[in-house]
């Protein structure tokens, strides 16, 4: 009917045509991450954990930020990946890269199976069901002490060098770069999905499910697909944590884990792909500093900070930047 050749390019069309193209600013997180590696060699242990959490938050952004699935149980997948990687290593399959793949696959399968049930609900029911699923997994990990180490956690994990070359050293250098590589792959996956027609349809589901059904979109299948991908990414994040810290405890399946990851996403900015890259470092560095300066009350300060963000910076730090940057460029007359 319409020739594709004749495509006028007003700004609205150009925006759609070029949205997926890489912009220079998108190199910033990676430049920063590498700069940190050289500039703060004493902080690489913390840095590695930040990278793990960034990947975890990024995975949550796919389901929460894009598809609008408000879950309180994303730790289920993080924890599954963490335990699978740990158990494999203890039982003789310690090779890290295949361990990551196995952990991601296991978390993806858990995502598929629970998604079949969870994604048929929404709103409060969804919150409760996702919460319960995670609590059940945590309780299972607690009870299966012979496999998981129970409440003591899984100990005795030793991971051979990555690719047979890079030993996990006591300064956390290898761990940091390993986490960075995993995050980079996760980012490529997430970014590809977000800019694909599938990713656009997720935002449609978030904005209006009724209308998506009315335009013939298989909503449940789309939600399930992104849930599985997100679960796998979260599982890989958990596995990186296990392999780099050589320990897994029950807290990886805890409610606090599910909650903290949401807080990080809100802090950074939901549904923006890069919210994870702001929220996770911000939260964890603040936690690290505050816990040092005011060990008794650091949680209060975090809470206060979050309150300010929710009240005055809707859309998180990135949302705030969206509003402030144009004004700076126009010399204050923007809005």
């Amino acid at each position: 009917m319409t020739a594709a050749a004749r495509l006028p390019q007003p700004p609205a069309v150009r925006a759609v045509l070029t949205r997926h193209r890489l912009r220079p600013i998108e190199a910033l997180p990676w430049v920063c991450a590498i700069a940190v590696y050289y500039a703060f060699p004493d902080y690489l242990a913390l840095g590695g954990q930040i990278l793990v959490m960034t990947l975890f938050v990024l995975s949550l952004d796919l389901v929460l930020g894009y598809a609008g699935i408000v879950t309180l149980g994303h730790a289920a997948f993080f924890g599954t990946g963490a335990y699978v990687a740990g158990i494999l290593a203890v039982r003789g399959w310690a090779e890290p890269l295949s361990g990551l793949v196995a952990a991601g696959a296991a978390a993806g399968i858990v995502g598929f199976l629970t998604g079949l049930v969870v994604l048929r609900t929404r709103g409060l029911t969804l919150l409760m069901v996702t919460l319960v699923v995670t609590q059940m997994l945590q309780e299972a990990a607690n009870k299966l002490g012979w496999l998981t180490g129970g409440a003591d956690g899984l100990q005795g994990i030793t991971i051979p060098p990555v690719l047979g070359l890079f030993r996990f050293d006591m300064f956390g250098r290898t761990a940091y770069l390993y986490g960075l590589a995993a995050l980079f792959i996760g980012w490529v996956v997430a970014r590809t999905i977000v800019h694909s027609p599938f990713g656009r349809s997720l935002t449609g589901i978030r904005e209006n499910v009724t209308r998506m059904q009315a335009i013939g979109s298989p909503v449940f299948r789309r939600k399930l697909a992104v849930y599985v991908v997100s679960a796998a990414l979260a599982g890989i994040a958990g596995a990186v944590l296990t392999q780099t810290t050589q320990f897994v405890g029950l807290q990886v399946l805890g409610f606090e884990m599910s909650a903290v990851v949401i807080i990080m996403l809100i802090l950074g900015g939901i549904g923006r792909l890069y919210g994870a890259f702001i929220g996770a470092p911000l939260y964890m560095i603040a936690q690290d500093q505050l816990a040092k300066d005011d060990p008794a009350n650091w949680l209060f300060w975090i809470g206060l900070f979050l309150l300010l963000v929710v009240l005055f910076a809707r859309g998180g730090v990135l949302g705030l930047a969206d509003r402030i940057l144009p004004r700076l460029r126009k010399g204050g007359d923007g809005g």
Partner: protein, 251 residues
């Protein structure tokens, strides 16, 4: 007799003991311009929800282009050529007008499940969506977020999304509801300029609009068809006048 684009046979629906669709036999020929009218609560929107699959009928059959779709899921019916608009806007509010239409066009092209190639590389989809906006005089608003548009313009986006599906049967649920009189003309123009092979069923309270657009009118009262006929027949029908003048209709 022309081929039916849409047909319902003895369609019934009850919510518990309350019948909301009673034995509706309805036939929409290809290219029809048909209006469904009736007092509030007559079951007009329920009828649309039954036809589109948002509600499952208690009994009866629904045929699209001669094929039985009674047990088909909503998305399957869309693939078979049914498109609708909503009485109350159901739009993607935080997306641009162009993106709203793109989602519909992308679904129809069968590309919307693709996770790998960027959406921006689908030039044919984008070109078609933009051409549709031009046709509906919405091109100037293509880059604006839907929620920033005045309500009347949003009603046009409702229609644009449905047309992005290139439906064979188009169900318009009160397209002019909430639209200022000055803007109703625009909606009327669009409906009058729809391709002649689309069968259009329009629910509307604005009788001027109904009588200008419709070749046939069905009057629905308490979930049942009261009468069907040409606009002149309906205008002259005593039972219809009773219903609309608010007298008791023991029918």
């Amino acid at each position: 007799m022309a081929e039916a684009a849409l047909e319902t046979v003895a369609l019934c629906k009850s919510f518990g003991a309350l019948p909301v669709a009673r034995n509706i036999d309805f036939r929409l020929p290809v290219g029809a311009r048909h209006a469904l009218i009736g007092p509030n609560g007559a079951g007009k929107t329920t009828f649309i929800n039954l036809v589109t699959g948002r509600l499952m009928p208690s009994s009866g059959r629904i045929l699209l282009g001669g094929a039985d779709v009674t047990s088909l899921a909503p998305e399957g019916r869309v693939k078979r050529g049914i498109g609708r608009t909503f009485q109350i806007n159901a739009l993607f509010n935080r997306l641009t007008v162009l993106e709203n239409v793109l989602l519909a066009v992308g679904e129809r092209h069968g590309v919307a499940g693709d996770m790998l190639r960027p959406a921006g590389a689908r030039r044919a989809v984008i070109a078609e969506a933009y051409a549709l906006l031009e046709r509906l005089a919405l091109a100037d608003d293509a880059g604006r977020l839907v929620r920033e548009l005045p309500y009347g313009r949003q009603r046009l986006v409702e229609i644009a999304i449905a047309l992005g599906l290139e439906p064979r049967v188009l169900l318009l649920d009160e397209p002019a509801a909430g639209v200022a009189a000055a803007e109703t003309g625009l909606i009327l123009d669009i409906i009058e300029n729809l391709p002649s092979d689309i069968a259009v069923l329009i629910i509307e309270h604005d009788m001027d609009l109904v009588f200008r657009v419709a070749q046939r009118i069905t009057v629905l009262v308490q979930g049942a068809v009261l009468v069907e006929g040409s606009p002149a027949e309906i205008a002259a029908d005593e039972r219809v006048q009773e219903v609309y003048l608010g007298k008791d209709s023991h029918g």
